[in-house]
Protein backbone atom coordinates (compact mmCIF):
# COMPACT_ATOMS: atom_id res chain seq x y z
CA UNK A 1 0.00 0.00 0.00
CA UNK A 2 1.30 3.41 -0.96
CA UNK A 3 0.27 6.87 0.23
CA UNK A 4 0.41 9.98 -1.90
CA UNK A 5 -0.06 13.03 0.32
CA UNK A 6 -0.29 16.75 -0.40
CA UNK A 7 -0.56 19.28 2.43
CA UNK A 8 -1.29 22.96 1.90
CA UNK A 9 0.13 24.30 5.12
CA UNK A 10 -2.15 27.31 5.46
CA UNK A 11 0.80 29.65 5.01
CA UNK A 12 0.91 29.22 1.27
CA UNK A 13 3.45 26.42 1.24
CA UNK A 14 2.57 23.07 -0.34
CA UNK A 15 4.25 19.88 0.78
CA UNK A 16 3.78 16.70 -1.20
CA UNK A 17 5.26 13.26 -1.65
CA UNK A 18 4.61 9.54 -1.54
CA UNK A 19 5.67 6.75 0.75
CA UNK A 20 5.06 3.03 1.05
CA UNK A 21 3.43 1.66 4.18
CA UNK A 22 6.40 -0.65 4.66
CA UNK A 23 8.74 2.35 4.93
CA UNK A 24 6.90 3.83 7.91
CA UNK A 25 7.76 3.22 11.58
CA UNK A 26 5.89 0.31 13.19
CA UNK A 27 4.10 2.49 15.70
CA UNK A 28 2.76 4.73 12.93
CA UNK A 29 1.72 1.70 10.86
CA UNK A 30 -0.32 0.43 13.80
CA UNK A 31 -2.10 3.77 14.12
CA UNK A 32 -2.73 3.87 10.38
CA UNK A 33 -4.26 0.39 10.45
CA UNK A 34 -6.60 1.23 13.31
CA UNK A 35 -7.50 4.81 12.37
CA UNK A 36 -7.28 5.23 8.59
CA UNK A 37 -10.20 2.93 7.85
CA UNK A 38 -12.51 3.72 4.94
CA UNK A 39 -15.25 4.68 7.38
CA UNK A 40 -13.04 7.04 9.39
CA UNK A 41 -11.53 8.58 6.28
CA UNK A 42 -14.94 9.25 4.77
CA UNK A 43 -16.16 10.81 8.02
CA UNK A 44 -13.01 12.94 8.30
CA UNK A 45 -13.40 14.14 4.72
CA UNK A 46 -16.99 15.15 5.46
CA UNK A 47 -16.02 17.27 8.47
CA UNK A 48 -17.16 20.85 8.05
CA UNK A 49 -14.58 23.63 8.37
CA UNK A 50 -15.07 26.70 10.54
CA UNK A 51 -16.06 29.34 7.94
CA UNK A 52 -14.30 32.11 9.89
CA UNK A 53 -11.01 30.24 10.04
CA UNK A 54 -8.27 31.64 7.82
CA UNK A 55 -4.86 30.14 7.10
CA UNK A 56 -6.37 26.69 7.62
CA UNK A 57 -4.48 23.64 6.34
CA UNK A 58 -5.81 21.40 3.58
CA UNK A 59 -4.86 17.77 3.00
CA UNK A 60 -5.21 15.59 -0.09
CA UNK A 61 -4.63 11.87 0.34
CA UNK A 62 -4.56 9.08 -2.23
CA UNK A 63 -4.11 5.49 -1.07
CA UNK A 64 -2.88 3.09 -3.72
CA UNK A 65 -3.52 -0.60 -2.89
CA UNK A 66 -0.85 -3.23 -3.61
CA UNK A 67 -3.19 -4.87 -6.09
CA UNK A 68 -2.96 -2.74 -9.28
CA UNK A 69 -6.46 -3.86 -10.27
CA UNK A 70 -7.95 -2.08 -7.26
CA UNK A 71 -8.80 1.60 -7.59
CA UNK A 72 -7.00 4.11 -5.37
CA UNK A 73 -8.99 5.83 -2.62
CA UNK A 74 -8.87 9.64 -2.74
CA UNK A 75 -9.85 12.06 0.01
CA UNK A 76 -9.62 15.77 0.75
CA UNK A 77 -9.62 17.08 4.30
CA UNK A 78 -9.71 20.52 5.90
CA UNK A 79 -8.80 21.60 9.43
CA UNK A 80 -11.84 20.88 11.57
CA UNK A 81 -12.51 19.98 15.16
CA UNK A 82 -13.81 16.48 14.49
CA UNK A 83 -11.19 15.00 12.14
CA UNK A 84 -8.06 15.65 14.17
CA UNK A 85 -7.21 11.96 14.71
CA UNK A 86 -6.91 11.48 10.98
CA UNK A 87 -5.09 14.77 10.32
CA UNK A 88 -2.49 14.06 12.99
CA UNK A 89 -1.65 10.74 11.36
CA UNK A 90 -1.34 12.52 8.02
CA UNK A 91 1.02 15.04 9.66
CA UNK A 92 3.14 12.12 10.85
CA UNK A 93 3.13 10.52 7.40
CA UNK A 94 4.22 13.83 5.88
CA UNK A 95 6.93 14.10 8.51
CA UNK A 96 8.31 10.73 7.34
CA UNK A 97 8.13 11.82 3.69
CA UNK A 98 10.01 15.04 4.48
CA UNK A 99 12.64 13.21 6.52
CA UNK A 100 13.34 10.93 3.59
CA UNK A 101 13.49 13.81 1.14
CA UNK A 102 15.90 15.63 3.42
CA UNK A 103 18.01 12.48 3.76
CA UNK A 104 17.48 12.22 7.49
CA UNK A 105 17.68 8.79 9.10
Amino acid sequence: MKFFLRVLTGQGITLQGEIDLTDLPEELVRRIQTTLTRKNLAAAAAAKPNPQMVDASEYELAIYPDNPNQKPQRYTFVDADDNIDVLEILDDIMHEIVRRKKGQS
Binding site: T14, N50, P51
Partner: protein, 355 residues
Amino acid sequence: MKPHYGCCHPIQCILPPHVVDAIKMRGDADQRKMAEALAKQATEIREEREEATPPDSFMGAPVLAMGVAPAVSREVYDGGRRASLPGTLVRSEGEDPVDDPVVNQVYDLTGDVYNLYLDVYRRNSLDGQGLLIVSTVHHRRRYNNAFWNGSQMAYGDGDGTLFQTFVEASVVGHELSHGVVQYSGGLAYKDQAGALNESFADVFGSLSKQYALRQTAAEADWLIGQGILGPDVHGLALRSMKAPGTAYEDTVLGKDPQPYHMDFYLNTSSDNGGVHINSGIPNHAFYLLSQYLGGYAWEKAGQIWYDTMQVINNPLATFNNWADKTVEVARERFGARSMEVAFTRRAWKLVGVDL
Protein backbone atom coordinates in the same frame (compact mmCIF):
# COMPACT_ATOMS: atom_id res chain seq x y z
CA MET B 1 -15.40 61.29 0.43
CA LYS B 2 -14.27 61.34 4.03
CA PRO B 3 -13.31 58.05 5.63
CA HIS B 4 -15.68 56.80 8.27
CA TYR B 5 -14.17 54.71 10.99
CA GLY B 6 -15.17 51.81 13.12
CA CYS B 7 -18.23 49.67 12.60
CA CYS B 8 -20.48 50.81 9.82
CA HIS B 9 -24.20 51.36 10.07
CA PRO B 10 -26.11 48.08 9.82
CA ILE B 11 -27.65 49.09 6.50
CA GLN B 12 -24.22 49.71 5.05
CA CYS B 13 -23.01 46.43 6.48
CA ILE B 14 -25.80 44.40 4.91
CA LEU B 15 -25.97 46.24 1.63
CA PRO B 16 -22.60 47.65 0.59
CA PRO B 17 -22.70 50.73 -1.65
CA HIS B 18 -21.80 48.80 -4.80
CA VAL B 19 -24.76 46.49 -4.22
CA VAL B 20 -27.06 49.44 -3.71
CA ASP B 21 -25.71 50.92 -6.94
CA ALA B 22 -26.35 47.67 -8.76
CA ILE B 23 -29.95 47.56 -7.50
CA LYS B 24 -30.46 51.16 -8.58
CA MET B 25 -29.30 50.23 -12.08
CA ARG B 26 -30.85 46.80 -12.52
CA GLY B 27 -33.73 46.47 -10.07
CA ASP B 28 -37.42 46.91 -10.80
CA ALA B 29 -39.22 50.13 -9.87
CA ASP B 30 -39.82 49.18 -6.23
CA GLN B 31 -36.28 47.89 -5.78
CA ARG B 32 -34.84 51.08 -7.29
CA LYS B 33 -36.96 53.14 -4.94
CA MET B 34 -35.76 51.11 -1.96
CA ALA B 35 -32.11 51.41 -3.09
CA GLU B 36 -32.38 55.16 -3.53
CA ALA B 37 -33.89 55.47 -0.05
CA LEU B 38 -31.08 53.36 1.40
CA ALA B 39 -28.42 55.39 -0.39
CA LYS B 40 -29.98 58.64 0.84
CA GLN B 41 -30.17 57.29 4.38
CA ALA B 42 -26.57 56.10 4.27
CA THR B 43 -25.41 59.52 3.04
CA GLU B 44 -27.30 61.25 5.84
CA ILE B 45 -25.83 58.90 8.44
CA ARG B 46 -22.35 59.43 7.06
CA GLU B 47 -22.77 63.20 7.12
CA GLU B 48 -24.09 63.09 10.67
CA ARG B 49 -21.12 60.97 11.73
CA GLU B 50 -18.63 63.24 9.98
CA GLU B 51 -20.09 66.25 11.71
CA ALA B 52 -19.94 64.51 15.06
CA THR B 53 -16.56 62.86 14.60
CA PRO B 54 -13.24 64.56 13.93
CA PRO B 55 -11.49 62.96 10.94
CA ASP B 56 -8.65 61.50 12.96
CA SER B 57 -10.74 59.75 15.55
CA PHE B 58 -12.76 56.57 15.51
CA MET B 59 -13.64 53.72 17.81
CA GLY B 60 -10.89 54.28 20.32
CA ALA B 61 -11.90 57.89 20.86
CA PRO B 62 -15.13 57.33 22.81
CA VAL B 63 -13.23 55.15 25.26
CA LEU B 64 -10.65 57.88 25.76
CA ALA B 65 -13.37 60.50 26.02
CA MET B 66 -14.95 58.64 28.92
CA GLY B 67 -11.64 58.78 30.73
CA VAL B 68 -10.91 55.07 30.40
CA ALA B 69 -7.57 54.55 28.73
CA PRO B 70 -7.50 51.68 26.24
CA ALA B 71 -5.35 48.83 27.50
CA VAL B 72 -4.26 45.56 25.99
CA SER B 73 -5.85 42.43 27.37
CA ARG B 74 -4.08 39.16 26.59
CA GLU B 75 -4.39 35.50 27.50
CA VAL B 76 -1.93 32.87 26.40
CA TYR B 77 -2.83 29.19 26.61
CA ASP B 78 -0.70 26.07 26.33
CA GLY B 79 -2.29 23.69 23.86
CA GLY B 80 -0.19 20.79 25.16
CA ARG B 81 0.32 19.62 21.58
CA ARG B 82 -3.33 18.67 21.46
CA ALA B 83 -5.95 19.93 19.06
CA SER B 84 -8.57 21.23 21.46
CA LEU B 85 -8.66 24.99 21.91
CA PRO B 86 -7.86 27.07 23.81
CA GLY B 87 -5.98 24.65 26.16
CA THR B 88 -4.62 25.53 29.61
CA LEU B 89 -4.33 29.20 30.59
CA VAL B 90 -0.69 29.91 31.41
CA ARG B 91 -0.33 33.69 31.33
CA SER B 92 -2.89 36.47 31.64
CA GLU B 93 -2.56 40.21 31.24
CA GLY B 94 -0.12 41.78 33.66
CA GLU B 95 1.24 38.49 35.00
CA ASP B 96 4.96 37.81 35.24
CA PRO B 97 6.76 35.82 32.54
CA VAL B 98 6.54 32.06 32.83
CA ASP B 99 9.18 29.37 32.28
CA ASP B 100 8.07 28.63 28.72
CA PRO B 101 9.78 31.16 26.41
CA VAL B 102 7.26 30.54 23.61
CA VAL B 103 4.43 31.71 25.87
CA ASN B 104 6.35 34.87 26.74
CA GLN B 105 7.22 35.53 23.10
CA VAL B 106 3.60 35.35 22.00
CA TYR B 107 2.57 37.55 24.93
CA ASP B 108 5.14 40.20 24.01
CA LEU B 109 4.60 40.06 20.24
CA THR B 110 0.84 40.31 20.70
CA GLY B 111 1.48 43.46 22.72
CA ASP B 112 3.60 44.86 19.87
CA VAL B 113 0.75 44.35 17.40
CA TYR B 114 -1.77 45.89 19.79
CA ASN B 115 0.53 48.91 20.20
CA LEU B 116 0.79 49.47 16.44
CA TYR B 117 -2.98 49.53 16.01
CA LEU B 118 -3.58 51.70 19.08
CA ASP B 119 -0.70 54.17 18.78
CA VAL B 120 -0.81 54.69 15.04
CA TYR B 121 -4.37 53.96 13.96
CA ARG B 122 -6.09 54.59 17.33
CA ARG B 123 -7.75 51.20 17.17
CA ASN B 124 -8.32 49.58 20.55
CA SER B 125 -7.60 45.89 19.87
CA LEU B 126 -8.84 43.76 16.98
CA ASP B 127 -12.45 44.87 17.19
CA GLY B 128 -11.72 48.49 18.13
CA GLN B 129 -13.43 47.93 21.46
CA GLY B 130 -10.74 46.33 23.57
CA LEU B 131 -11.31 42.69 22.62
CA LEU B 132 -9.44 40.16 24.77
CA ILE B 133 -6.68 38.68 22.58
CA VAL B 134 -6.47 34.92 23.05
CA SER B 135 -3.53 32.89 21.78
CA THR B 136 -2.71 29.20 22.05
CA VAL B 137 0.85 27.97 21.62
CA HIS B 138 1.99 24.36 21.16
CA HIS B 139 -1.12 23.62 19.10
CA ARG B 140 -1.16 20.02 17.86
CA ARG B 141 1.91 17.87 17.33
CA ARG B 142 4.36 18.71 14.53
CA TYR B 143 1.84 21.24 13.26
CA ASN B 144 3.30 23.32 10.44
CA ASN B 145 0.88 26.21 10.67
CA ALA B 146 -0.59 29.14 12.58
CA PHE B 147 -4.11 30.43 12.15
CA TRP B 148 -6.89 32.78 13.23
CA ASN B 149 -10.12 30.82 13.75
CA GLY B 150 -12.51 33.72 14.07
CA SER B 151 -12.03 34.16 17.79
CA GLN B 152 -8.42 33.33 18.66
CA MET B 153 -4.92 32.62 17.32
CA ALA B 154 -3.25 29.21 17.42
CA TYR B 155 0.40 28.48 16.73
CA GLY B 156 1.97 25.12 15.95
CA ASP B 157 5.56 24.31 16.93
CA GLY B 158 6.46 23.11 13.43
CA ASP B 159 7.85 19.71 12.63
CA GLY B 160 11.41 20.69 13.58
CA THR B 161 12.64 19.94 10.07
CA LEU B 162 10.90 22.33 7.70
CA PHE B 163 9.66 24.74 10.36
CA GLN B 164 11.14 25.40 13.77
CA THR B 165 8.44 27.74 15.09
CA PHE B 166 5.50 29.88 14.03
CA VAL B 167 5.90 32.39 16.83
CA GLU B 168 7.61 35.23 15.01
CA ALA B 169 6.79 38.95 14.91
CA SER B 170 5.38 39.20 11.39
CA VAL B 171 3.48 35.90 11.69
CA VAL B 172 1.85 37.00 14.96
CA GLY B 173 1.02 40.35 13.36
CA HIS B 174 -0.34 38.55 10.31
CA GLU B 175 -2.69 36.32 12.30
CA LEU B 176 -3.95 39.14 14.51
CA SER B 177 -4.53 41.31 11.45
CA HIS B 178 -6.89 38.67 10.08
CA GLY B 179 -8.94 39.50 13.16
CA VAL B 180 -8.82 43.20 12.27
CA VAL B 181 -10.07 42.36 8.77
CA GLN B 182 -12.91 40.32 10.23
CA TYR B 183 -13.99 43.18 12.52
CA SER B 184 -13.64 45.78 9.76
CA GLY B 185 -16.33 44.39 7.50
CA GLY B 186 -14.30 41.48 6.22
CA LEU B 187 -12.97 40.27 2.91
CA ALA B 188 -14.21 36.95 1.55
CA TYR B 189 -11.48 34.33 1.83
CA LYS B 190 -11.45 33.45 -1.86
CA ASP B 191 -9.89 34.66 -5.09
CA GLN B 192 -8.84 38.34 -5.23
CA ALA B 193 -10.76 39.34 -2.09
CA GLY B 194 -9.03 36.49 -0.26
CA ALA B 195 -5.65 37.58 -1.62
CA LEU B 196 -6.38 41.11 -0.34
CA ASN B 197 -7.28 39.60 3.04
CA GLU B 198 -3.94 37.76 3.06
CA SER B 199 -2.08 40.83 1.83
CA PHE B 200 -3.59 43.09 4.52
CA ALA B 201 -2.45 40.53 7.09
CA ASP B 202 1.05 40.49 5.59
CA VAL B 203 1.26 44.29 5.38
CA PHE B 204 0.29 44.82 9.01
CA GLY B 205 2.29 41.78 10.11
CA SER B 206 5.37 43.42 8.62
CA LEU B 207 4.41 46.86 9.95
CA SER B 208 3.97 45.55 13.49
CA LYS B 209 7.51 44.20 13.37
CA GLN B 210 8.82 47.44 11.82
CA TYR B 211 7.01 49.52 14.45
CA ALA B 212 8.40 47.47 17.33
CA LEU B 213 11.91 47.83 15.91
CA ARG B 214 11.35 51.45 14.81
CA GLN B 215 12.64 50.56 11.34
CA THR B 216 12.23 52.80 8.32
CA ALA B 217 10.92 51.36 5.06
CA ALA B 218 14.50 51.28 3.82
CA GLU B 219 15.74 49.40 6.89
CA ALA B 220 12.97 46.78 7.05
CA ASP B 221 13.45 43.26 5.68
CA TRP B 222 9.88 43.07 4.29
CA LEU B 223 9.85 39.33 4.97
CA ILE B 224 6.97 37.38 6.45
CA GLY B 225 8.12 34.61 8.74
CA GLN B 226 11.81 35.42 8.69
CA GLY B 227 13.68 32.75 10.64
CA ILE B 228 10.88 30.24 11.03
CA LEU B 229 12.18 27.81 8.40
CA GLY B 230 14.31 24.90 9.55
CA PRO B 231 18.10 25.08 9.32
CA ASP B 232 18.26 22.66 6.39
CA VAL B 233 15.68 24.54 4.33
CA HIS B 234 16.99 26.70 1.52
CA GLY B 235 15.07 29.90 2.12
CA LEU B 236 14.70 33.05 4.17
CA ALA B 237 11.02 33.21 5.01
CA LEU B 238 7.48 32.33 3.94
CA ARG B 239 7.06 35.37 1.72
CA SER B 240 8.92 38.48 0.57
CA MET B 241 7.00 41.70 0.00
CA LYS B 242 10.08 43.29 -1.49
CA ALA B 243 10.67 40.50 -4.00
CA PRO B 244 7.68 38.16 -4.17
CA GLY B 245 8.68 34.75 -5.49
CA THR B 246 12.14 34.73 -3.92
CA ALA B 247 11.51 33.80 -0.27
CA TYR B 248 12.56 30.16 -0.68
CA GLU B 249 13.63 27.57 -3.21
CA ASP B 250 14.03 24.18 -1.63
CA THR B 251 13.98 20.51 -2.56
CA VAL B 252 10.96 19.86 -0.36
CA LEU B 253 9.16 23.22 -0.29
CA GLY B 254 9.68 23.89 -3.97
CA LYS B 255 9.96 27.48 -5.17
CA ASP B 256 8.11 30.44 -3.71
CA PRO B 257 5.17 30.80 -6.15
CA GLN B 258 4.22 34.42 -5.46
CA PRO B 259 3.90 36.80 -8.42
CA TYR B 260 4.82 40.48 -8.18
CA HIS B 261 2.83 41.59 -11.24
CA MET B 262 -0.61 40.94 -12.76
CA ASP B 263 1.08 39.42 -15.81
CA PHE B 264 1.94 36.47 -13.59
CA TYR B 265 -1.38 36.27 -11.70
CA LEU B 266 -2.14 32.62 -11.02
CA ASN B 267 -5.61 31.34 -11.80
CA THR B 268 -6.04 28.29 -9.60
CA SER B 269 -8.73 26.55 -7.59
CA SER B 270 -6.16 25.52 -4.99
CA ASP B 271 -5.52 27.60 -1.85
CA ASN B 272 -9.01 29.19 -2.08
CA GLY B 273 -8.10 30.58 -5.46
CA GLY B 274 -4.44 31.29 -4.68
CA VAL B 275 -5.02 33.62 -1.74
CA HIS B 276 -1.48 33.08 -0.40
CA ILE B 277 -0.01 33.27 -3.89
CA ASN B 278 -1.59 36.26 -5.62
CA SER B 279 -1.30 38.31 -2.42
CA GLY B 280 2.23 38.92 -3.69
CA ILE B 281 0.82 41.55 -6.08
CA PRO B 282 -0.81 43.91 -3.54
CA ASN B 283 2.04 43.13 -1.13
CA HIS B 284 4.52 44.45 -3.65
CA ALA B 285 2.38 47.51 -4.40
CA PHE B 286 2.47 48.36 -0.69
CA TYR B 287 6.23 47.81 -0.56
CA LEU B 288 6.76 50.11 -3.57
CA LEU B 289 4.56 52.85 -2.10
CA SER B 290 6.48 52.63 1.18
CA GLN B 291 9.79 52.98 -0.61
CA TYR B 292 8.57 55.97 -2.64
CA LEU B 293 7.28 57.75 0.44
CA GLY B 294 10.31 56.88 2.59
CA GLY B 295 10.43 57.17 6.37
CA TYR B 296 8.28 54.91 8.49
CA ALA B 297 5.93 52.79 6.39
CA TRP B 298 3.25 52.69 9.09
CA GLU B 299 2.79 56.46 8.94
CA LYS B 300 1.54 57.19 5.42
CA ALA B 301 1.40 53.97 3.40
CA GLY B 302 0.06 52.06 6.39
CA GLN B 303 -2.51 54.77 7.09
CA ILE B 304 -3.75 54.61 3.48
CA TRP B 305 -4.09 50.80 3.65
CA TYR B 306 -5.71 50.91 7.08
CA ASP B 307 -8.21 53.60 6.04
CA THR B 308 -9.01 51.61 2.90
CA MET B 309 -9.88 48.57 4.98
CA GLN B 310 -12.22 50.69 7.10
CA VAL B 311 -14.10 52.28 4.22
CA ILE B 312 -14.11 49.82 1.36
CA ASN B 313 -17.20 48.01 2.64
CA ASN B 314 -16.99 45.39 -0.10
CA PRO B 315 -16.24 41.81 1.02
CA LEU B 316 -15.81 40.76 -2.59
CA ALA B 317 -13.36 43.52 -3.50
CA THR B 318 -11.05 42.91 -6.43
CA PHE B 319 -7.51 44.27 -6.71
CA ASN B 320 -8.91 47.09 -8.86
CA ASN B 321 -11.58 47.94 -6.27
CA TRP B 322 -8.97 48.04 -3.51
CA ALA B 323 -6.48 50.04 -5.59
CA ASP B 324 -9.16 52.60 -6.55
CA LYS B 325 -10.08 52.99 -2.90
CA THR B 326 -6.45 53.49 -1.81
CA VAL B 327 -6.17 56.39 -4.26
CA GLU B 328 -9.47 57.82 -3.05
CA VAL B 329 -8.36 57.54 0.58
CA ALA B 330 -4.95 59.08 -0.19
CA ARG B 331 -6.67 61.94 -2.00
CA GLU B 332 -8.96 62.56 0.96
CA ARG B 333 -6.20 62.44 3.55
CA PHE B 334 -3.31 64.10 1.68
CA GLY B 335 -4.94 66.14 -1.10
CA ALA B 336 -5.66 65.51 -4.76
CA ARG B 337 -2.32 66.88 -5.98
CA SER B 338 -0.24 65.27 -3.26
CA MET B 339 2.79 63.07 -3.83
CA GLU B 340 1.00 60.40 -1.77
CA VAL B 341 -1.71 60.14 -4.41
CA ALA B 342 0.79 60.15 -7.28
CA PHE B 343 2.92 57.48 -5.64
CA THR B 344 -0.08 55.32 -4.79
CA ARG B 345 -1.14 55.39 -8.44
CA ARG B 346 2.39 54.61 -9.55
CA ALA B 347 2.77 51.67 -7.17
CA TRP B 348 -0.38 50.04 -8.53
CA LYS B 349 0.66 50.72 -12.12
CA LEU B 350 4.01 49.04 -11.57
CA VAL B 351 2.36 45.83 -10.39
CA GLY B 352 -0.01 45.89 -13.37
CA VAL B 353 -3.22 46.95 -11.61
CA ASP B 354 -4.83 49.57 -13.84
CA LEU B 355 -6.73 52.41 -12.21
